[in-house]
């Protein structure tokens, strides 16, 4: 029983390890060369995982609190487009470094507005988060396309290009990955070691008892939706940096992968459980599957099938663990 509990607790780690070995062995047998040993492959997988992780990071807070945020896909798009439009407008007048700074600052600030409104609607007006953020999904989408005038906004800013494509630390680590690591550690610390993080778990576990204990659930809800918008906006910044262009639908394809990453990482739809580390593993699993399948020449559409299967397996394992032990995966991997 104990071993079973340990295994179900660590299954996402084991699964990640399993698919890494699987693709590596396949690569050796079929092509006679390494898959992950190749620096380019490793970097590409980490960049893809970073995209998913940036959206999933803030979403982890929301899902632990027993909510959902569907608007982050287009908040990321709004951020990408805002950054591109501001840089494009300022580039003729300012040094590239300054217009870049102005662009990312404006993008993050603009993105926090829908985040704040989400939290306020849900905490104050008692709109269910699924409905409220679905509404914001539409609003942010419209705003993103309006700002970009329905087009992709291209830029020629060397600082932005370096931000999205540069490598640091012996020319090995992509800059977005480094930033993602720092942001992830910060939020991991916030969730696992502070009063704020504890209250997010308490609110998701038993809302009434949190209120009774004096937790300011309104403030907490607004803050976590702003965190969610913030990390989504970072995804938008990386997108515009990487492609030197901002698009309104930059984040839209990533949304469901981000939701999947959080659940694969051990969170439960009913709230109260989930960890940042779990979400990191979930993001890596999806990125490895996507790249691995392409690498072994499986038609790309099988990615969707594979990720879908993993989500269902994740939920099944989570449920069987609840049945086995009455546990849900809060401290998994923490």
């Amino acid at each position: 029983m104990r071993i079973l509990r340990l295994l179900t607790g660590a299954w996402s780690w084991l699964f990640l390890l399993f698919i890494l070995i699987f693709f590596e062995v396949w690569s050796h047998v079929t092509y006679g060369r390494t898959f992950f040993g190749n620096i380019f492959n490793a970097q590409s997988i980490l960049l893809a995982a970073t995209q998913i992780l940036m959206m999933a990071l803030g979403l982890t807070f929301i899902i632990i609190s027993a909510g959902i945020d569907l608007s982050i896909g287009f908040i990321a798009g709004l951020s990408a487009v805002t950054m591109a439009v501001v840089i494009r407008a300022l580039d003729p007048h300012l040094a590239p470094g300054w217009s870049f700074l102005a662009g990312i600052s404006a993008a993050v600030l603009i993105s926090l507005i829908p985040g704040f409104i989400n939290g306020w609607m849900i905490a104050k007006l008692k709109v269910p988060s699924f409905i409220g953020t679905l509404g914001m999904f539409g609003i942010a989408r419209g705003a993103a396309f309006l700002i970009a005038d329905g087009a992709t906004v291209s830029i020629r800013n060397p600082v932005a290009r370096e931000f999205g494509n540069g490598r640091v630390i012996f020319d090995l680590v992509p800059i977005p990955v480094l930033i993602a690591i720092i942001v992830t550690l910060t939020f991991h610390y916030l969730l696992s070691s502070t009063k704020f993080g504890l209250y997010v778990y308490a609110m998701g576990g038993n809302y009434a008892s949190a209120v009774r204990a004096g937790v300011n659930t309104t403030r907490l809800t607004i803050i976590i939706f702003m965190i969610s918008a913030f990390t989504a906006s970072l995804m938008g910044l990386f997108y515009t940096g990487r492609f030197s262009a901002g698009a309104g639908d930059a984040g839209e394809p990533i949304l469901l992968n981000a939701v999947a990453a959080v659940f694969i990482g051990g969170a439960s739809l009913t709230g109260g459980s989930g960890t940042i580390i779990g979400t990191v593993i979930g993001s890596l699993i999806i990125a490895v599957i996507q790249f691995g399948l392409v690498f072994i020449n499986v038609p790309p559409f099988w990615q969707f099938v594979a990720v879908g299967l993993v989500i269902i397996i994740a939920v099944l394992i989570d449920q069987s663990r609840d049945r086995l032990t009455g546990m849900s995966g809060q401290e998994e991997g923490a």
């Binding site: 502070t194 009063k195 308490a202 008892s209 004096g214 032990t325 546990m327 809060q330």
Partner: protein, 258 residues
């Protein structure tokens, strides 16, 4: 003299809601180290009465004394200030958190600045649960995995860590099995030894008869009477609940005798 001063006295309490008299001229009291059961049918007024002590309602008229001093309780914060804590059967605990997190929720011990002091909260929780004679294999276990009696202990631990003197326990043994009910009995025994006063509320006499030193019976918003459980049988008290009939040995509140 001090021994004759009740920990709590609610005297001539009235409360009505839109012309309906929910509580009419009820006087009850509670001494340190004593358990008083409040029983009666649903709607007899026991919940309304006790909510005026816990601060959820305010009385239309009547007086409340704590340690012999008259007090006004307008909200739950006032009640907490006088050491009154309510233990709810449900709603009280966050199941996904461990015992220390539940005991300290909203009043966490901090290391410095923003860091939670998990070690200190764990040690303090162990201490307070030891006082309640509760041996958990690990205090880091989520409370969802604890038994009903153990969960009850965690909720009580939360109250007594912050120096509650008067506990209100609302249906503490409802939905518990015989073994867990015995655990709660142990807990109450322990709390009495520590000198706490406890109001037990139940619509089921069997739950509270064995645990209470005295029982106050309410019917239709009025006090039928208060009896020592040692002096009467369950059937006597049932007659009070159902027929509003006082047995021969019925006592008035202790303080009124003194």
């Amino acid at each position: 003299m001090a021994e004759n001063t009740p920990l709590v006295e609610m005297r001539n309490i009235y409360k009505s809601f839109g012309g309906v008299h929910a509580v009419e001229d009820v006087t009850i009291d509670l001494f340190a180290g004593e358990v008083v059961g409040l029983v009666g049918h649903n709607g007899a007024g026991k919940s309304t009465l006790i909510k005026m002590l816990s601060g959820a309602y305010t009385a239309d008229s009547g007086k409340i004394f704590i340690d012999g001093r008259e007090v006004t309780i307008n909200n739950p914060r006032d009640a907490r200030k006088y050491g009154i804590e309510t233990i709810y059967q449900t709603l009280a605990l966050a199941d996904n958190l461990d015992a220390p997190a539940n005991i300290f929720l909203g009043r966490e011990l901090m290391r410095s600045g923003y860091l939670l002091n998990d070690d200190a909260m764990e040690a303090a929780s162990r201490e307070v649960l030891d006082r309640l004679r509760l041996n958990l294999p690990s205090v880091k276990e989520k409370v969802v995995n604890l038994s009903g009696g153990q969960r009850q202990a965690v909720a009580i631990g939360r109250a007594i860590y912050f120096n509650a003197k008067i506990l209100i326990m609302d249906e503490p043994t409802a939905a518990l099995g015989p073994e867990e009910t015995a655990q709660v009995g142990e807990l109450i025994h322990q709390l009495k030894k520590e000198g706490l006063g406890i109001f037990l509320i139940s619509h089921d006499l069997h739950d509270v008869f064995d645990l209470s030193d005295r029982v106050s019976v309410l019917k239709n918003g009025a006090l039928v009477g208060t009896v020592h459980t040692a002096d009467v049988t369950k059937d006597d008290v049932l007659a009070m609940i159902i027929a509003g009939k006082l047995p021969e040995v019925a006592t008035t509140p202790k303080s009124a005798q003194a």
